[in-house]
């Protein structure tokens, strides 16, 4: 008796589920609303808003568009460890709500955009950091991070007295390896006697290396102990720990993504932030939204390099701008890269 009851329960439950899935014909895409105003949406990468780095830069672009272009912005956060199907669902729901453009922040959105974009041919999809998925309504916003990092390498090699500099990567992904490759090449091209200590905090799918400052701090401490006097951390929020460690030891730190000299959270350490390798995610987001609003949406690969100031080296620290020998070397290297005389590698 008990066997039958239990078995029947399973049967009824799965049948009911299957029925509810098939019978309930309404899909969430049917609920589309059409209004006159322009709505833009960004879907964040791991970490979400408040990471003082990548996601915040995207948000800065969106809020600038809200102010200057009178666009209504929507944000959507991912859940930890979610599957592609969840990203598909998120983008679909953003697109069906009438958002245009819909921007996926980070390469993780590539498979999802590949599936969703063809279903919404009139919506422009922005994809940051990935150009493997192409389409008429997909704008791939990619950056030459290695070029900015090369300049950081030039500056680091010039200011280092101990002839040892450090690179800290957040999570060992191909994207962060571009930072490492550019930095190492920049150092070696400037002064081949300078040693580069390179190290990663975590390996995917453990993305703690982008969010935990204590990891960055410990790694920087280790490199300082080994004699490094310039530390370049490409590690998102974890990089702030590296900046703190370098500042406490009164050595140089190089920031990443945005101009970290001007960041409020790092004000206590700003005198030791030599410069920052900037990556203009916010500008790229803004440009894409503007292009949609102007009726001429961007599509295919939009590459931001040194030439378009999509990446670059910040010059807000007066101590840095005073070192004319360093800034001249950086400026010369920048010109050489733009002219194609120096080709920067993307893998270490």
């Amino acid at each position: 008796m008990r066997r039958i009851t239990r078995f029947a329960t399973v049967g009824i439950a799965s049948a009911a589920l299957a029925l509810s899935a098939t019978a309930c014909g309404k899909t969430s895409s049917d609920a589309a609303s059409d209004s006159g105003e322009i709505k833009a949406a960004i879907a964040y990468d791991i970490g979400g808003r408040g990471d003082q780095s990548f996601n915040d830069a995207a948000y800065a672009g969106l809020s600038k568009a809200e102010k200057e272009l009178d666009v209504k912005g929507t944000e959507a956060e991912p859940s930890d460890g979610e599957a592609d199907a969840d990203k598909v669902q998120r983008l679909t729901s953003l697109a069906r709500a009438g958002n245009n453009p819909v921007i996926g922040v980070g390469f993780a959105y590539a498979p999802a955009i590949e599936k969703v974009a063809p279903k919404f041919p009139d919506t422009t999809f922005g994809l940051i950091d990935d150009s493997s998925v192409q389409g008429d309504n997909i704008a791939n916003l990619v950056f030459n991070e290695e070029e900015g990092s090369y300049l950081a390498g030039v500056a680091a090699a010039k200011v280092s007295k101990s002839k040892t500099v450090g690179f800290i990567g957040g999570v060992e992904t191909p994207l962060i390896k571009k930072f490492q490759a550019g930095f190492e090449q920049g150092v070696k091209d400037t002064d081949s006697s300078v040693k580069v200590l390179s190290q990663y905090l975590t390996q995917p799918p453990n993305f703690d290396g982008f969010v935990k400052p204590d990891l960055g701090k410990a790694a920087a401490q280790g490199q300082l102990d080994k004699g490094a006097d310039v530390i370049y951390a490409a590690a998102g929020l974890a990089g702030s720990g590296a900046i703190e460690a370098a500042s406490k030891a009164d050595k140089w730190a190089i920031g990443v993504d945005s101009d970290q000299y001007n960041q409020k959270g790092l004000a206590a350490y700003k005198d030791n932030i030599l410069t920052s390798v900037t990556k203009d995610v916010s500008g790229a987001v803004f440009n894409l939204i503007k292009s949609v609003k102007d009726g001429d949406p961007q599509s295919s690969e939009i590459r931001y390099g040194l030439d378009k100031s999509g990446v670059g080296l910040a010059e807000s620290n007066p101590a840095y701008t005073k070192m004319t020998e360093v800034t001249e070397a950086v400026a010369a290297a920048k010109q050489n890269i733009i002219d194609g005389k120096i080709v920067v590698k993307t893998t270490p």
Partner: protein
């Protein structure tokens, strides 16, 4: 006898229902305390669940969670706490994806190969903890947690383009290459999307789990060893062998947990492959009290919370509400199960007491008749 079963069923249901109600009320309290509408998020979540594409997401996720929870439950029945389901699941999915992409076989064979590889890898990874436990007495809790971390590093190394992985041009992701179409598991097309075919395999496995545990000698030995290893040993069960076997089975099932996603959707293992499934599986196995039907409903509930909360932040509510609720459910479950257990125990004692008293009376009556 049948009446007793009904009571037990009611008692069994009381635990989760009580837990759910408490979690619901506490979540509302949290919402109220943070100055939010205490009911609106739940309304939004039920709204989301009425869409057929969200329903498909829920069902697919249920399949994955169901497998992960079964893997945990096999261990629980044996008094083993396999925290390493997540690592076993990830490593198995990764290696299975590699092998699947490297070969080309006729459809069913290709799928069978991928599935078998996944089970073997999962079993192997869990087996390490099993051997450590049986030979050196290392707690499986500690060793499986450490094996999770080792699996992360091992995968990161294996997936490097210089080893076995590849980096698609223009992408910043690393993958194991695409599995040819012969290795895709057929899906059920419904309005709103595709239900991964492997989801049905997952549910069928629930029946196998029930049958093996409750209707075979092996299952009896397993439960007996779980209840008391010394008693089981005294009755001729090799407890060490049972520990190792249970770990191997648990790992093999954990290896299967990645199959719905791998065979039905991504067809490759990449940095985007879902993580944390094994940990959710622990919650679900606890909630479902290790019973195949209970686990099914628990998996359904957690998937429901996961998927319907995804859009909350677009309506101005934090999606973490669902995370809070899941956490509260787990705490409430532990407390309410204990309460219900104690109540059941007291009730049983009272009953036995009554029956004994009645029996005693009968005996004396008989004696009196003599």
């Amino acid at each position: 006898m049948r009446k007793f079963d009904k009571d037990r069923l009611l008692l069994g249901l009381a635990g989760p229902v009580l837990a759910l109600a408490v979690a619901f009320v506490l979540t509302s309290v949290v919402l109220l305390a943070s100055d939010r509408d205490p009911i609106e998020p739940f309304r939004l979540m039920f709204d989301a669940a009425s869409f057929s594409d969200v329903q498909v997401l829920i069902i697919n996720q249920t399949g994955t969670y169901y497998l992960a929870a079964l893997a945990v439950a096999v261990g629980f029945r044996m008094n083993l706490f396999n925290i390493g389901v997540d690592g076993q699941y990830r490593l198995a999915a990764m290696v299975a994806a590699l092998i699947g992409a490297a070969v080309e076989l006729p459809g069913p064979l290709h799928i069978a190969l991928i599935v078998i590889v996944a089970m073997l890898v999962g079993a192997f990874w869990a087996g390490i903890a099993g051997i450590l436990k049986t030979t050196r007495g290392v707690s499986e809790v500690v060793s499986t947690i450490m094996l999770n971390a080792i699996a992360t590093s091992l995968i990161a190394w294996l997936i490097l383009p210089s080893n076995f992985g590849e980096q698609p041009p223009g992408s910043n992701d690393l993958t194991t290459g695409d599995i040819p179409e012969s290795g895709w598991f057929p899906a059920l097309e419904v309005t709103g999307g595709e239900i991964y075919g492997f989801t049905f395999v997952a549910f069928a496995l629930g029946f196998v789990y029930w049958f093996v545990l409750n209707r075979t000698r092996f299952g009896f030995d397993l439960r007996a060893t779980g209840a008391s290893s010394t008693a089981a040993q005294a009755s001729g069960v090799d407890a060490k062998k049972m520990v190792l076997t249970a770990m191997l089975i648990s790992g093999a099932v954990a290896g299967l947990a990645g199959m719905p996603t791998l065979l039905g959707d991504t067809h490759t293992y990449s940095f985007n492959f879902p993580v944390g499934v094994g940990f959710t599986g622990i919650t679900i196995a606890l909630l479902g009290r290790n019973s195949p039907v209970g686990i099914f409903f628990a998996a359904l509930l957690v998937s429901f919370l996961d998927k319907t909360s995804a859009d909350l932040d677009q309506h101005g509510y934090e999606k973490e509400i669902a995370t809070i609720m899941q956490g509260l459910i787990v705490i409430a479950v532990v407390v309410s199960y204990e309460l219900v257990r104690q109540y059941g125990l007291r009730r049983q004692q009272r009953k036995v007491g009554e029956e004994l008293a009645a029996g005693h009376a009968l005996k004396t009556a008989k004696e009196a008749a003599k």
